[in-house]
């Protein structure tokens, strides 16, 4: 078996209030296997790729909006390396309550028929508890007809549960349980825990099976490691975890970059917005608070809440996937990428960044530090995602629009496309077909035909090439129709 490496104290994760030593964990051991091997078998493996949520557990994190204290965050334990949780606090369904003293979330699910086979239930419990404890969850005024369709009167955001799949119930009783939840009591220990700081990231080094997991203390150490060895940076592991679980990938050196302060800044200046590449999508969403509308359209469509609690823009750009959902939007926003290494920083245009299928300008010794969005934002923006399932699916095609339409004329147009080529691409011919033209149905129809011919979409299990092409053209028509509705209403 495996021995842990350095330091006098055995690294451990605080699970349900008790330290659980990371003795048998290798750099590739998932948090889920770690918990289950330790006898906490409540969390389950349903898919091993963060799609079903049966593995969800709660992690004590600093609040996503940057405020002080602690936030209970639901994460996919099947993706997160156990080693990355060294020194962190984890709560599982077992820790929330017992059969004789059910947690309010457990109570509502149990009594309303929210479990049938029960296999997905511990994961649902954790995702639901995270939303139950969300500090800014507030009752939504009912009766005025403006309550979002996916939220309860109690302010429960149903999107908190879209990363959890249930094959038995059809979801209605789970939704009703969520919408029946009250506020946590004043003496609720998990509510009280929110008022004190979350555990700080703990420098970690775990070596086993000829591989290492390192959580460096700062960016300098991280870059030094990257410069010296063939290392794989890992943040939320929402992509890497899938590679490890399903494709047998076993990176020799994993470097945790998700808690590096230097990658976690978000700031506005006069002519640009800088977003740290190590912030999770949830953190970006909460800190932007709607100030970039097209990103608000992106977030909920990007993936489920537990995935967004891990996924970062750095990761989404770093993998170079042609079907990542952030590149089309960031291309439409004309964003730049800041790359950093031991030799310094460089800023490149995102439009130039992707060089081929899963390749980019980023050298192996570089990290993505931040994404720079020029201001002011284009006035007409949109993100359209075409997929089989509305929640938590991978795009067949994704389209980001950034248009400047004034006095009925398209001043400029930036259109980013995903899923139609080996890399995310700009629809340059469509942009040209729009720029300088009247924003009319006629222009749109002509440009839609151009857009439908952009890229080289393929047939695969998600959709046909023909559908992908059709969706490109339809996307522009939809943008026009919706912008016309805005104008007329």
């Amino acid at each position: 078996m495996t021995e842990i490496a350095t330091g006098p104290a055995v690294p451990a994760v605080i699970v349900n209030g008790e330290p659980m030593p990371l003795v048998a964990a290798t750099p590739h051991t998932t948090a889920l296997d770690f918990l289950r091997d330790g006898g906490l078998t409540g969390a389950k493996e349903g898919c091993a790729e963060g799609e079903c949520g049966a593995c969800c557990v709660l992690v004590a994190r600093p609040p996503a909006d940057g405020s002080p204290g602690t936030e209970w965050t639901s994460v996919n334990a099947c993706l997160v390396p156990a080693a990355s949780l060294s020194g962190q606090e984890v709560v599982t369904a077992e820790g929330l309550g017992t059969p004789s003293e059910l947690h309010p979330v457990q109570h509502e699910l149990a009594r309303r028929g929210g479990s049938q086979c029960g296999y997905c239930t511990p994961g649902f419990v954790c995702s639901m508890a995270a939303e139950y404890y969300r500090a800014d969850r507030a009752p939504t005024p009912s009766g005025n007809g403006v309550r979002p369709i996916d939220a309860g009167d109690n302010g429960f955001d149903l999107h908190a549960l879209t990363g959890n799949l249930c094959r038995c119930t059809g979801y209605r009783p789970i939704r009703d349980a969520a919408y029946a939840l009250g506020r946590p009591g004043a003496d609720d220990p998990f509510a009280v825990r929110r008022t004190t700081p979350a555990p700080r990231p703990e420098p970690t080094r775990i070596e086993a099976d000829g591989a290492s997991f390192v959580r460096p203390t700062d960016l300098t150490e991280a870059l030094g490691l990257l410069a010296d060895a063939d290392a794989t940076p890992v943040a939320g592991a929402t992509d890497l975890g899938v590679e490890i679980n399903l494709r047998g990938t076993r990176p020799r050196l994993l470097i945790a970059v998700d808690r590096l302060e230097e990658l976690r800044d978000l700031r506005w200046s006069g002519d640009e917005l800088r977003i740290g590449a190590g912030l999770t999508l949830t953190e970006i969403e909460r800190r932007l608070a709607g100030r970039v509308p097209v990103l608000d359209q992106l977030f909920w469509q990007f993936a489920s809440r537990p995935i967004r609690n891990g996924a970062t823009l750095g990761g989404n750009l770093g993998t170079g996937s042609p079907i990542g959902d952030s590149p089309p939007v960031l291309l439409a926003l004309d964003a730049d990428v800041v790359l950093v290494s031991t030799t310094g920083e460089r800023q490149v245009r995102l439009a130039d960044y992707f060089t081929g299928y899963r390749t980019s300008l980023r050298r192996r010794d570089e990290l993505i530090k931040e994404i720079v969005v020029p201001l002011p934002l284009a006035p007409l923006t949109a993100f359209h995602k075409v997929a089989k399932r509305r929640y938590d699916d991978i795009s067949s095609v994704a389209i980001g629009f950034g248009l400047d339409v004034s006095d009925g004329v398209v001043g400029s147009a930036r259109i980013g496309l995903g899923g139609v080529a080996a890399t995310p691409v700009r629809a340059v011919e469509t942009e040209a077909a729009l720029t300088g033209r009247q924003w009319t149905q006629e222009t749109v129809d002509r440009a839609a035909a151009v857009l439908a011919a952009e890229g080289t979409p393929i047939d695969d299990q998600r959709s046909s090439a023909r559908y992908r092409s059709a969706m490109l053209g339809q996307s522009l028509r939809r943008l026009f129709a919706e912008s016309a509705e805005v104008v007329t209403s």
Binding site: G42, G113, C117, D209
Partner: protein, 762 residues
Amino acid sequence: MSDLSQRPESPVVGETIPHESAALHVTGRALYTDDLTPRTKGLLHAWPVQSPHAHARVTGLRTHAAYAEPGVVRVLTADDVPGLNDSGIRHDEPLFPDEVMYHGQAVCWVLAETAESARRGAGRVEVDYEPLPAVLTIHEAIAADSFQGTAPTARRGDAEAAVARAAHVFEGETEMAGQEHFYLETQASLAEVDDGGQVFVQSSTQHPSETQEVVAHVLGLAGHAVTVQCLRMGGGFGGKEVQANGYAAVAALGATLTGRPVRVRLNRTQDFTMTGKRHGFHATWRAGFDDDGHLLALDTTLTSDGGWSLDLSEAVLARAICHVDNAYWIPDVRIHGRIAKTHKTSQTAFRGFGGPQGMLVLEDIFGRCAPLLGIDPIDLRRRNFYAEGQETPYGQPVRHADRAATAWDQVLATAEVADRSAEVAHFNATHEHTKRALAMTPVKFGISFNLTALNQAGALVHVYKDGSVLINHGGTEMGQGLHTKMLQVAATSLGVPLAKVRLAPTRTDKVPNTSATAASSGSDLNGGAIKNACEQIGARLAEVDGGRGLPWEKLVGEAYLARVPLFAAGYYRTEGLHWDATVFQGSPFKYFAYGVAAAEVEVDGFTGAYRTRRVDIVHDVGDSLSPLVDLGQIEGGFVQGVGWLTLEDLRWDVSPDGEHRGRLTTRAASTYKLPSFAEMPEDFRVAMLEQAHEEGAVYGSKAVGEPPLMLAFSVREALRQACAAFGPAGISVELASPATPEAVYWALDGARNAVAHEPAGA
């Protein structure tokens, strides 16, 4: 009322209670088979070596390199099998094959100290293959004349002549995809051998007795040397009716050879690529209608995609043939069925068991023909309902035929179908890019195993001296709430509070020779058996009591001292069934379950994406044994049906010369999408049919596991109608199944570009 169906005063059945394990589920304490892994010392992990070909001869197998992998203990091959090398009871499924019949089939298994070592070891096993031609699709199978099993026909009258005579004749083809079970808990088994050589297998199986039988024949042991236990399953849906058996046998074989506990647990990719699915079907049909839209005759041939082995395909096909009629009278009818043999996973039971596939054919015909007949689809369906006294195509009288009409009328009223249809029409007239539709469909589903012999069950009831009760029965719990209902049945029958009764996990050494928990029959059969056991005990206790009315505990104590046995084995068999499979005639079903659904959808004309705005259901569960459980079955079955019909899209690589021909390309949760919250009807209203007592089942109840799945046809038909609304009136819309957003887009795009009314009788 019959003795079987009559309820005593203040029965525990009928009370609304949560699932018996709900508190364990929500606290993560409910144990599933693989949760035993960290609780079992010295356990070995198994990993399969999977074929990269859809069809190939295994010409060489070298395992020595695997043994070089640290931690590898044993590689299991055909040479290790002391008994019969077969994972089924029809003996057409080699457990360790020398000819692989589908992409992903396990050739051999590696046992190791850790799952990681087993995985690496499996990667080092060397297998030589001689690739052979593979048949993949139903169309390829038909062209190659590749079929298996029987090819029965149900007939009444002269369908061909009656179709030819009809005023309106339509013909077409209907094709529907299969469905992955995607039970959240993948296949899992854990086997141990005790000091006496007794093999104990913990298995996530719907059919412990058959798992026992297969393990015994693989090991060359008698049935009494093998015990199978199923704690509970994290979902089954038919996928563990027979498909669990092979994995249990691998674990048991490993345990007997190594003397150590062995765990087989498929990961999701393995489960996708190795286990059978719902059968896809293809149908050709000719249908004749009169001017009023009465279906006069139907002549159809169904071809199911059975995959590489027979499995349950014949029984699935039988149920499909028996459900083409759904709730509709067809005077002259011929339904022929056959099973294609393809180089894919062996398709198997899945909730509905062919019934949904059979029904889809006629629902598709109504949906396509209604506009051509110029009759509103709601009226067209209603006009063709069975009347009391009519018989199904296989000759069974349709008892309680009026219940479909009652439920239909109730939905029409409570769902305000007329008013809402007008609202839909107004909405469509005022929205160019978005269309809505409201559709209604009925369900009539036959309850009992088609094969009469399977309709029997046993139970064991113990009353302890302190008055507590322990029950055991042959049914398995997969989330459907069977155990909850059985506790209620026992408490009702003994006249004790629910808290007095406990239920122990299903084991073959408690109740032998059980049938699968399947065909929605779990409560009917096992409930009958438990009630029988309780009544035996109750009769003995009544004698002891002698009319004194003693409290339960005191009575039990006295009975013990009087040397009265306080335990009993119960038995039940369903009476009145008969079935002649050779002529496809008889009364195979004890009764029919009925239901009606109305669904309203909204379709986006830009993408084909859609939402289900509202669903109203009235469903017949008889007198409910457990209303919360039944509600869960109705809602959950409905959404699972919606998944099959709209979202879940199995794809294989069928490229003629592709390197990966035969590979399942949707092999993960990321590529095969289950319904999520988005597919839940936004407004979901379910009612149970009132005055629905069923004489022929325990405490007047009806089976509920499968029938509600088919209520989802309402969503498919609504999608079809919404697509039609993008075009001119009167056009027939063909909609692929599953109706994914892409399929809906092409359907609505076709409607949008349609210009002319197609003539009736095309």
